[in-house]
Amino acid sequence: MVKRQAVGAHYGLKDWIAQRATAVFMALFTVVFAVCVLTLPSFTYETWSGLFKSGLFRFLSFLFFLSLFYHAWIGIRDIWMDYIKPDGVRLVLHLVTLFLLVGYAGWAAQILWRL
């Protein structure tokens, strides 16, 4: 049996923009985060968790993790697309990656909001 190859899924631009946008956000947040941490009056658990008490900081750090996981999803999927030839294996790896990253996002939020 001949398996014909089809391309033309008509997506890709959104992911490409998202990968760049999330990278920019992560870079900016890293700078903000570094400044906030370095200007803490003392480096104790109280000041550290105090940092995460502010609503804005929670909002930004949550966005950071969402950016990280979305960025990672596109990057890891690219690796599977490049190197994994059997379609079935690739689909399974895509799903495993997706489930893991969604799980990690929930886990990260839980840790962050518990501080």
């Binding site: 997506y11 890709g12 631009l13």
Partner: protein
Amino acid sequence: MTKRTVQFKIYRYDPDKDEKPYMQDISVELEPSDKKLLDALVRLRAKDDSMSFRRSCREGVCGSDAMNINGKNGLACLTDIDSLAQPITLRPLPGLPVIRDLIVDMTQFFKQYHSIKPYLVNNDPPPERERLQSPEEREELNGLYECILCACCSTSCPSFWWNPDKFVGPAGLLAAYRFLADTRDQDTNARLDNLEDPYRLFRCHSIMNCVDVCPKGLNPTRAIGKIKDMMVRRAI
């Protein structure tokens, strides 16, 4: 300049005789007038006529004699023999099936080239004379139309190695932008739709191997960036 001897290490494979490819050590004496790698290859073939490679115009216009020279793709006819470290290692273009010695099967490469419709689409009745462009509009085609389809770029691109059947490759994408950039073409939307795909266009991660090897000094990465730019401007 006096006569000199040059050492080679050449990829040899004749599917009728050899079980698998091997590297052959061979040297050749050059005449003072021999300047380019192609001159040496012609002398080599006179010495061993079983050695196969493509060549035609011998001046960087036809793109036939593209090969992997000391690990980097290039045209034998444009490469100065004295600029190369010896033994000069010659291999066929990477990633394409080898037909024999330095000759590769370019079917996949041209299939991708054809997939971007490398011709002007204009449904208006042709004017009496030519379809005109302003000098600025014509300027945009510089650095795009000069491609000779030697495949140096696409075969140095890892994304093309992994997915030659799905990724258009730098040569094809440069040609795609050549027609997207042409103000006389009316197929812009369909062309962008054709490339809006995670494999066809977005396998390019801008590592610029293509720019590094292009014997004509072209910049496929910039052209690919401009295609993405057009897509973004269309979408937002």
